[in-house]
Amino acid sequence: MKFIPQKNSLSLRLIYLILSLLSASNLYAADDNLNEDVIKNTHDQLKELIPQLQVKNFKKKIILVKQLAAINDPQSIIVLQALLNSRLYYQKADKSVVLLQKKEVHKKSKQYEIFNALDNKKIGLVEKKTIKKIATNNKLRKTIRTLLAQKEITNADLNIRQAAVKEILTGNDASLLPALKQAQTVETDESQKDLLNLAIALIEVDAQDTSTRQSAIKLLGNSLYPRAKGKLDTILATNDKGEFIEQDKDVIKTAQKALKRINAKLSLFGNLETLFFGLSLGSVLLLAAIGLSITFGVMGVINMAHGELIMLGAYTTYLVQQLMPNEIGLSLIVAIPAAFIVSGLFGIAIERGIIRHLYGRPLETLLATFGISLLLQQMVRSLISAQNVPVITPSWLSGSLVFNPAFAITYNRIYIFFFALLVFAFLLLILKKTSLGLQVRAVAQNRSMATAMGIKTQWVDSLTFGLGSGVAGVAGVALSQLTNVGPNLGQAYIIDSFMVVVFGGVENLWGTLVAAMTLGITNKFLEPWAGAVMSKIIVLIFLIIFIQKRPNGLFPQKGRSSGGH
């Protein structure tokens, strides 16, 4: 397991690293024999080659660049990097090559700070018009990139080596073979060694010798990099008549086997990925529905404003981030209790103000709470904005966990999955282990008996509704990391949430968990086969039919009087 390195991290910093480490590295076997004279010699070579870069002909430039790269001097890397990043110039007056550390030092005077390309010494500030850029084209840049990568694959820093070999993997330059083999023999890190082997195999596949090709193909068969599969596909390419272009029958046979092995692995990891996406969707559904399973499942209150309570949680995240813009990572942690309190208070207000007067009239409750949902939406639109608001993802939530090239999962989904389970456990604990939970269950089972036993049912109602609403707010915090935060956020989840609760069976938290995960996974496994929208429709139809067969859900509550009203 490792982080995906950021592409833009290959910056000047790395060059200095290379500088400090290059003397210790052993690029070529011949380099071991270097002595003082040779170093002097390389400097002379640089002195000779660098001014020639001003030549207009790109073919000549490529040759020059290759010669430059062959010189074992840190300065050659600096010059090549500068050329690659369009920072290499020459002075019009004396034709001396200079480089810029950064572009445009003084914006007003448009002056540049230039350095000597030979020894990196500062020359001074010059007008823009006195210098001219040394032009590059795509082919030249690609050559430079490969050459630099070639130098970097033996760097002492593992990150640099990895980036370098990945760079090499994108091209397919046979001339790199000796360098790769050399690097492979001295490499100590296992995964890096695998990458090098892959790079070597990709080149050796096109060799003349059959046995070399065979072993290279076998090696490719163990790799999950798209390039390996692509290479095998090219080997097995057929012409118009369906005959293999490749002549060697043994090679074809081995390649077919290797491709089969890759495909088997890819489909395995594909399934794993789908499973994970399913679990991830399931955890989102669970978060959205779990508050509802309290208010609807336990209290029997249809709260159409549930989605808007989720939305309020997401907006609370946004507001908390606005309050502490420098502590984005922390803000998300702060937002969780904040959202719980905000949505919980709204929930209690709704219960005390409206729902209380409608107990025993579920259809009216449905309509009234729908009215509340419209009010809350419009409130957010009027007070904050009708547009979506940006919620920032903290750094510890971005990036992904890479198992292999075919299977990587993003951190935010992993965190949200475990967060959903945590919220679930928290609710379960409250309902089963606290006196509040006991009272909630007592009121749900037999209100009048609970009153007779001295439970303040009205108080319990308010708290239960507040709890369910607060959890909805917490769900909003999590969802703000996955979807757009806007006034309509809640509407997208309300029908799904009801479906999950009804499917799982009301008054049953475990049912909600199972239902959410089942629906999430089913949906994702249907998706490649039926398309995203169609799979959603199929799941909805399945649910409608399921409820006909088992009106009380997957896990019906036992011992309750059946239906009727």
């Binding site: 579920p362 009216e364 449905l366 029908i495 929208v533 909805l540 409608i544 006909q548």
Partner: protein, 386 residues
């Protein structure tokens, strides 16, 4: 009463309905005279007429009122709060839309005589099978009734048989219309996808843009509303209607007496869906477009609020509610767009908390306050029903 002569026997006690239908007839006659006959016979006096867009707007309201009657029939009388009635409305609308699309012929942007524009755009080669027959108006008229009716039959048959009731049923119907919305949004559905069906040219050979056609469609909407109202009143006054009310008030008891509750429910549900389909079919030529947005769950819920505001279980209350709320919507979305959702949200809350019987109930309460005689008796009754 002289007015009773114009109405069938079963409507004689229905004062609200008689007022409503009389008013409707009056408005329709006025519109026909001033907008159709006078411009035709006395062109110099044509300035007197009502602007045509207003007539169309009024016609739109009448269609929505018919839809409200359809919902009141199942909700107010049978206790089934369907949150998917807009789906039946939209299906009727789509059937009409398909007919109108076929009427365009080769006058589309692409000029293809066989395929509607959006199919040409999607590179389809031939008309999908379910479009066959929509060239004929008679077939379309049949489909306007059959498609919503069939969906209601299948859905109701499954649901009522397994005794899904109350809020569960509401959520199921909502899921149904949601699934349909998602389905109709797909281009592969062959019904225009996101954009729906639009750019209609004419109906039965008459241009949809002409004032005359618009007034005729308005008059037909008024007629459909009147007929729908009278039929619905007939049903609720009949023995079937009494049984349905019994089911609403005590389903188990009705079942134990020996009635097949699910059959009654199914019957009234299917009839209501067909009524909604007709409303949708008349609505589409007047607004000139039908798209999947009509299926969205919020439409169905809004519909419930029209009925609740007007007064459930009265039929004419549903009409009043639909007209009032929709007029308010047109006014506020034009004048104070921000305010409309606040107003609508408040309407939902106020009507459920303070107006359990809607505006009609409010009038009755005022009337009863004036006559002291029945006061106590009525109060008792209200307590019972609340």
């Amino acid at each position: 009463m002289i007015i009773n002569r114009f109405f069938p026997q079963f409507m004689h006690k229905d004062t609200g309905g008689k007022w409503l239908l009389s008013l409707l007839a009056l408005v329709t006659i006025i519109v026909i005279i001033f907008n159709f006959l006078i411009p035709l016979l006395l062109p110099e006096m044509s300035a007197l007429h009502m602007p045509t867009y207003m007539v169309t707007l009024l016609g739109k309201y009448l269609c929505l009122a018919l839809l409200a009657i359809a919902l009141d029939l199942v909700w107010g009388y049978c206790g089934i709060l369907s949150l998917g009635h807009a789906a039946f409305f939209a299906l009727g609308g789509y059937a009409m839309g398909m007919y109108l699309m076929r009427q365009i012929g080769d006058r589309g942007v692409y000029g293809n005589p066989e395929l509607p524009d959006f199919m040409v755009f999607l590179n389809w080669q031939e008309l999908p099978w379910y479009w066959i027959g929509f060239d004929s108006f008679a077939f379309t008229a049949l489909m306007i009734l059959l498609v919503p009716g069939l969906l209601a039959y299948v859905f109701g048959w499954m649901t009522f048989r397994s005794r899904v009731t109350g809020v569960y049923l509401s959520i199921m119907t909502q899921a149904m219309t949601y699934a349909l919305m998602l389905a109709f949004f797909r281009n592969e559905m062959g019904l225009g996808g996101n954009n729906g069906l639009t750019d209609f040219k004419d109906i039965l050979g008459f241009s949809l843009q002409s004032d005359g056609t618009r007034i005729i469609i308005f008059s037909l909407s008024a007629l459909a509303l009147a007929l729908g109202y009278i039929t619905s009143r007939f049903i609720v006054e009949s023995k079937l209607g009494k049984t349905v009310v019994a089911i609403r008030d005590a389903e188990l008891r009705t079942r134990f007496i020996g009635y097949k509750v699910e059959d009654y429910k199914l019957w009234i549900f299917v009839f209501s869906a067909m009524l909604a389909g007709v409303a949708g079919a008349l609505y589409v030529p007047q607004v000139g477009i039908i798209n999947p947005g009509e299926f969205s769950p919020i439409n169905s819920i809004e519909l419930a609020i029209w009925v609740a505001i007007g007064g459930r279980g009265t039929l004419f209350g549903a009409v009043i509610g639909a007209l009032l709320v929709n007029y308010a919507k047109t006014y506020f979305t034009g004048a104070l767009p921000e305010f409309w959702l606040f107003a609508l949200g408040t309407l939902f809350i106020v009507s459920t908390l303070y107006l359990p019987k809607g505006i009609v109930g409010l009038f009755e309460r005022i009337k009863n306050k004036n006559s002291d005689q029945n006061k106590q008796a009525e109060n008792k009754l209200e307590e019972k029903t609340a």
